[in-house]
């Protein structure tokens, strides 16, 4: 090998675009393998054991998950192979996605999904005016609410028809977007020079942050109703949504406060010197920078909220987990818990992993634009 490398070196200088990179690549790979996988005898042993485990596990997993698995059929009796039986998922995919939403109205759900998904590329595109993006984010929860719940021209759909991924996305997206303005106000309140405002903001943030979200959900489910006069009820979906908003807002306030602290003092002073009022300083100078800088952590927070929505199952809202649990207890699909829960895991992993990579990517872009 050493001889070939000496031969290749002059060639490299002559024709840098052709074969040499491959040989160089081989060498680089070798070096990488040596340095990372087999640096010491003990590490080599670990590598070999891990590889052996993978070689044992991956084919079996693939076989069970895909090769011997059953994807089409009507009932559990059609699952003849040794592999996974995905029928409870494939047969119920509409239930998983749309819940009990009326069949003729599912286009509304599709539009709502598309509108929510559109947020993420919007955050990235630089050509679009920021004000449009902001307007979109402000309008979206209202539009989604109108689209999904109905009213003003659309047929009204009862909250009891909401279930599955629809609920998960509904709570996640609307919760996040409503929490954002509240979180900003709380963060500003916490840094306010007026003691009353500061105290109230701190109290709220610390109180909510030191209580588990599940406790708040139980409050919403069990206690709030008892405070209202008899016969006056707030939709359970709305109640859990308010809890998620309040909860996320408190955490978001802390993220944004971090962003506020990262803005150099000089900017505040410069704004003051130019005669800007508090709100103008914040709205035109400070917040735009803070929000741009905090998009990656806010996305991470969204991932957290998205997963937290699954807690609503304990108060009787059928999100995707609720549908999954109902599926595993339906008589025709008894005993297929593994497949159903794996499907859940894959659903959340796909979305959350994609979003976290996206957040990472945005972060890198930010670093680049700073340097």
């Amino acid at each position: 090998m050493s001889s070939s490398s000496t031969v290749s070196t002059p060639e490299q200088t002559h024709r840098p675009a052709q074969s040499p990179p491959r040989q160089g690549g081989v060498q680089r790979t070798r070096r990488w393998v040596k340095r990372h996988l087999f640096p010491t005898p003990f590490q080599s042993l670990l590598t070999l054991v891990t590889l052996a485990l993978l070689a044992w596990f991956v084919p079996r997993a693939l076989d069970w998950l895909i090769l011997s698995a059953t994807f089409s059929g009507d009932s559990q009796a059609d699952c003849l192979g040794d592999g996974a039986c995905w029928l409870p998922v494939t047969q119920r995919i509409e239930l998983f996605v749309y819940g009990f939403y009326p069949d003729t109205q599912t286009w509304r759900v599709n539009i709502a999904f598309a509108l929510s998904a559109a947020i993420f590329p919007l955050l990235y595109l630089k050509r679009i005016d920021r004000r449009w993006v902001l307007g979109y984010l402000v309008a979206l929860p209202f539009v989604m609410w109108w689209l999904l719940k109905g009213g003003a021209g659309l047929a009204e759909v009862s909250s009891t028809k909401f279930a599955g991924i629809l609920v998960t996305v509904f709570l996640g997206v609307i919760g996040m977007l409503f929490a954002l303005p509240i979180g900003i106000l709380l963060a500003l309140g916490r840094r306010s020079s007026k003691p009353a405002i500061k105290l109230l903001s701190v109290l709220y943030i610390e109180l909510v942050r030191s209580v588990p979200v599940i406790t708040l959900l139980f409050m919403a489910s069990l206690m709030i109703q008892l405070f209202f006069p008899e016969g006056f009820t707030i939709d359970i979906l709305l109640r859990v949504l308010i809890v998620l908003i309040m909860f996320t807002a408190a955490y978001m306030a802390e993220t944004i406060r971090g962003g506020l602290q990262g803005i150099p003092r000089g900017q505040y002073e410069a704004a003051k010197a130019l005669g800007f009022s508090y709100w103008k300083t914040m709205g035109l100078i400070i917040l735009p920078q803070v929000l741009r800088n905090t998009i990656p952590p806010l996305l991470t927070q969204f991932i957290g909220l998205f997963k937290e929505t699954t807690l609503v199952v304990v108060v009787g809202v059928l999100d995707i987990v609720g549908i999954a649990m109902s599926t595993t207890s339906a008589p025709e699909w008894l005993g297929l818990e593994h497949e159903v829960y794996l499907f859940l895991a894959m659903f959340f992993f796909t979305i959350c992993f994609a979003l976290s990579r996206y957040a990472r990517h945005l972060e890198k872009q930010l670093e680049k634009s700073r340097s």
Binding site: Q91, E94, L95, Y98, G99, F100, F142, W145, K149, G151, S158, S159, T160, F178, P181, I182, L185, L186, L188, G189, S192, K194, A196, L200, S201, F218, S221, L222, Q225, L226, P229, E230, G231, F232, T233, I234, D235, I236, L237, L238, L241, I242, I245, V314, V315, G316, V317, L318, G322, I323, M325, S326, T327, T328, S329, A330, P331, E332, L334, G335
Partner: protein, 344 residues
Amino acid sequence: MQNNKMLGQITAMGLLGLSLAYAGAAQASLLDDVKARDALRCGVSSDKAGFSYLTDEGRWSGMDVDLCRGIAAAVLGDAEKVEFVVTTAKNRFTALASGEIDVLSRATTWTASRDANLGADFTTPWFYDGQGVMTHADFGVNSIEELDGAVFCLSPGTTSEQNLEDYFGRRGLSYRTVVIEKSTELYNAFQKGRCDAITNDMSGLASRRTQFADPDAYTLLPETISKEPLGAYVPQGDAQWRDIVTWTAFALMNAEELEVTSQNVESLREETRNPNIARLLGTDGRIGERFGLSNDWAYQAIRQVGNYAEIFARNVGPETPLKFDRGLNRLWSDGGLIYPAPIR
């Protein structure tokens, strides 16, 4: 700024509040509310096989669900006018007391403390469950008393352990236990023969058995060692509404007793000479009106949902994966506990 925050929250709530639902003034009766809403709100469970669960098409199904449909048919004339509200074991009574649901039909046991305390009134038992015992079929055992000296699989610290102790102690019989915390492992241990028998709610045992590799290798013994009368609860203090729910259940049971089914109810209404059937179906007398319903209330419920036997067979009977025996839920005339008060 705090004001702004508050203002923000209030506006948000106000805007979202489009869906605020008024169940009407507290004085108005539930019947009027349900009629005004043109929908019955029924609290159910989302994951109890055979009682309330979802089919692949996203349709609610089960014994408890069918009771809701029967009530909707009796009150509103249409079994489909039900909004199913998912409740959990923890929030079910709050939902009932706060008016979020009109009926709680969620495999809930009738006990004194619940009837007395929780702002709820029980109607009538709809399904008699109880703690049962499952054993290996090749033992050839036909009753629990033959299991003297047997090894039982149990989960620790449950009421089922206490009930078993009471039952065997009273009869001077002995048993040994294998205690396992997780229920999946518990049932696996039983299947592998680590214990001779396993005890739990009858309905739970039956649905677990369907998951076994060879369900026919196990028998459910007919006796129950604890009482679990399950049925619907209604909010406390509305006697008319409680009557309606109770008598809808009775009407469906009476239909079985009088051999009125969803198939023959149409023709029987025209041509029956049996005065009991005529009163049930509203062609004679005006019982429905006295409940504040129309006279064909029971006819509608039977036609759209079926009688008790049909409901049982469709949801948990031998043709379903659950394969329940009628057991205690036979008519009184067949030696069971289903004894509907007469409609006259």
